[in-house]
């Protein structure tokens, strides 16, 4: 392989930890410990890890309701992460916003809107700050194939392109928006990439379950954006393993296809196999990592469980500065 072991191990650690986080959220939800809904991103981790392997300090991130553990990837500590999921005062917003509105400015996480697409131009604004400060950073926009159909996404693309701002538009095309297949909702197979040229943007389509392919495709694109060539599009093809929300029986799709994707396109398992084949990692090491991260998560969950919740007298806090 053409990569340093350190890099590969870092990527693997990120992939594995995101997987474990996504799985843990499902468990927590099943135990009725999580308010609202969670949208499990199992199977889609490589899209985030691969694209975000191009990040550097000072970059900004507009993440999405799926895969929420991407906020951990870019710096959110487990304590605040689980604090927010469990709606505790130790969460990012103290349990006010919830896991589908994770923001953490100190990591560059810009926040997200539960109304899909309404946050599309937020990275465009962050890119204005980058430009004003003359940095070579970029602002990442992440959204699903479904959300990408919303008008504000095109308005954001237009503004970013008109002003040649350093925005990387990433579409995570997992084949579905709730029950609606992408083939139905989108007139073109690559929802965002096939439209990029119409906004004068370069684009790349990658297999979002292959972390290195994703990284390579993203690298070229992100490099151009960092160099000041204006915004660009990355589209990551993957498959949504679980239902849209927990409880969704997925009666609208062929279980065999899901099964096939889970078996053959498991971004963690496949990458681990490659690394083991090449002697970069052993099965024991992986088992150890899993165990140790599980302990970390459990400790953070325990920390969150023990943390206080906001109280009635605090309900108006932070509404205004």
């Amino acid at each position: 392989m053409k990569y340093e072991n350190d890099f590969l191990l870092k990527i693997h650690k990120e992939l594995l930890e995101m997987r474990l986080l996504e799985a843990k959220m499902v468990d927590l939800y099943a135990e009725s410990r999580v308010p609202g809904h969670i949208h499990s991103g199992m199977g889609q981790e490589a899209a985030f890890v691969g694209v975000l392997a191009t990040r550097k300090p000072g970059d900004y991130f507009k993440l999405a309701h799926r895969v929420v553990s991407s906020s951990y990837l870019v710096g959110d500590p487990l304590d605040t992460f689980f604090g927010e999921i469990l709606a505790k005062k130790t969460g990012n917003s103290g349990g006010r916003g919830g896991i589908n509105h994770t923001g953490r400015l100190c990591d560059g996480v810009l926040g997200m809107s539960g109304t899909l697409g309404c946050d599309a131009a937020i990275p465009v604004g962050a890119a204005m700050t980058i430009e004003a400060e003359g940095r070579d950073n970029v602002a990442f926009f992440f959204a699903g194939d479904g959300a990408t159909n919303r008008g504000p996404v095109y308005e954001a693309m237009t503004l970013a392109a008109d002003w040649k701002l350093p925005v990387v538009f990433v579409c995570i095309n997992n084949g579905f928006g709730i029950s609606t297949p992408t083939e139905y909702s989108s007139p073109v197979p690559n929802v965002m990439a096939d439209k990029a040229a119409g906004f004068n943007m370069p684009s790349v389509v990658v297999d979002g379950t292959n972390v290195l392919e994703t990284y390579e495709g993203a690298s070229k694109i992100v490099e151009g954006v960092r160099a000041g060539n204006g915004p660009a599009v990355i589209e990551c093809k993957c498959y949504r393993w679980r239902g849209h929300f927990e409880g969704d029986q997925c009666a609208y799709r062929d279980g065999a296809v899901t099964q096939m994707n889970m078996e053959e396109k498991d971004c963690v398992k496949n990458f681990e196999k490659d690394l083991m084949d090449q002697g970069v990692l052993t099965a024991d090491q992986i088992a150890e990592m899993r165990e140790s991260f599980d302990k970390e998560m459990e400790a953070s969950i325990a920390h969150a469980e023990a943390a206080p919740e906001m109280t009635a007298d605090e309900i108006f806090d932070y509404l205004y500065v």
Binding site: G36, S93, T115, E309, I315
Partner: protein
């Protein structure tokens, strides 16, 4: 039979689509999935893919196309999933749906219905818990309906679909599972409930409590308990928020001389603001005290469930306010 609020809505849709083949239904995930609350299950099979359609996530196109379809002869009943999403096609509803006829002439009719699931629900958070009635009351031309029980939901939705005026139909989502006993023959009688007609849900003599949507069962619970304390509460469900049935409500206030409004949405500029302003403006001499507003606290809906519950009125909040009026 025991009927849930959700089933009543599904049945109204089906009955109207059977009755009139101009009626069609579309929105996000309403076809195979049968809507995220399961309300429209089975409709795709019965009515086929031209009359029961999934849309992409394109709310402005859902509303815009409904206008175009309605003015040219169809009767679209569209769904916006969460009431909060009326805000992403706000101009389309506020400017176009509401005012299209007035601005374009009497030839134009807009027989369309916009269904949406409204209010809070266990940690759905600040962008999936709003009540939007009061926003659209500010747009002249729109009919706004919020039912509170299965019987009303069915009869009102059928009327909404038959109306040649556009209707915003808000469904309190915490009510979807609520059951009501309705005699089979009544339920299946193709009954409708006229738009613009309030319903006295409970007779009382001491105070008129106007309750909307999810707040109606809570108001009834509070009224029951207050009766034991010697306060007789008349609970009125306007059902149609705009245009408002002033006759029924005002007759009640003339009898009780006290009034309160309880709603699930934020207090400031909520439905209660308009109603309280109207009541005191038009019935000042009939009122023995201020019109009280019982509503959600003016915060974005917290994700934290105890705080969510705290911010929305319950029977205790209602009782407390009403006790304070005597």
């Amino acid at each position: 039979m025991k009927v849930t609020f959700g089933k009543a809505i599904g049945d109204a849709l089906k009955e109207e689509m059977r009755r009139d083949d101009k009626v069609l239904m579309y929105g996000e995930d309403v076809a195979q999935f049968g809507n995220i609350f399961g309300l429209t299950r089975g409709m795709l099979d019965e009515f086929g893919p031209k009359r029961v359609r999934n849309t992409p996530i394109t709310e402005t196109a859902i509303i815009g196309s409904a206008i175009g379809a309605a003015e040219t002869g169809l009767r679209p009943c569209v769904e916006l999933m969460y009431s909060d999403f009326t805000t992403v096609c706000f101009a389309e509803i506020f400017h176009c749906v509401s005012k299209w006829r007035y601005m374009h002439g009497p030839e134009f009719k807009l027989p369309l219905v916009i269904r949406n699931a409204s209010g809070s629900s266990n940690g759905a958070g600040a962008e999936h818990s709003n009540c939007v009635e009061s926003l659209f009351m500010h747009a002249p031309g729109l009919t706004i309906v919020t039912p509170s029980c299965a019987y009303d939901a069915k009869g009102l939705l059928k009327s909404a679909i038959r109306s040649d005026n556009p209707v915003l139909f808000c469904e309190p989502k915490l009510l979807y599972q609520a059951k009501q006993e309705i005699p089979d023959d009544v339920y299946n009688s193709d009954y409708t409930i006229p738009l613009g007609l309030a319903d006295v849900k409970r007779q009382g003599t001491d105070i008129t409590l106007v309750a909307i949507g999810l707040m109606v069962p809570r108001a009834l619970e509070a009224a029951e308990k207050l009766a034991a304390e010697g306060i007789s509460v008349e609970v009125i469900d306007p059902r149609t928020i705009a245009p408002l049935d002033k006759d029924t409500i005002y007759a009640s206030i003339r009898k009780t001389h006290r009034a309160a409004i309880v709603e699930e949405g934020n207090k400031t500029s909520g439905v209660g603001a308009e109603l309280a302003a109207q009541f005191q403006e038009e019935l000042y001499d009939e009122l023995d005290g201020p019109v009280a507003r019982i509503a959600a606290l003016d915060v974005p809906m917290p994700y934290n469930i105890p705080m969510e519950h705290y911010s929305v009125p319950d029977a205790n909040n209602i009782m407390e306010t009403i006790r304070g009026m005597f």
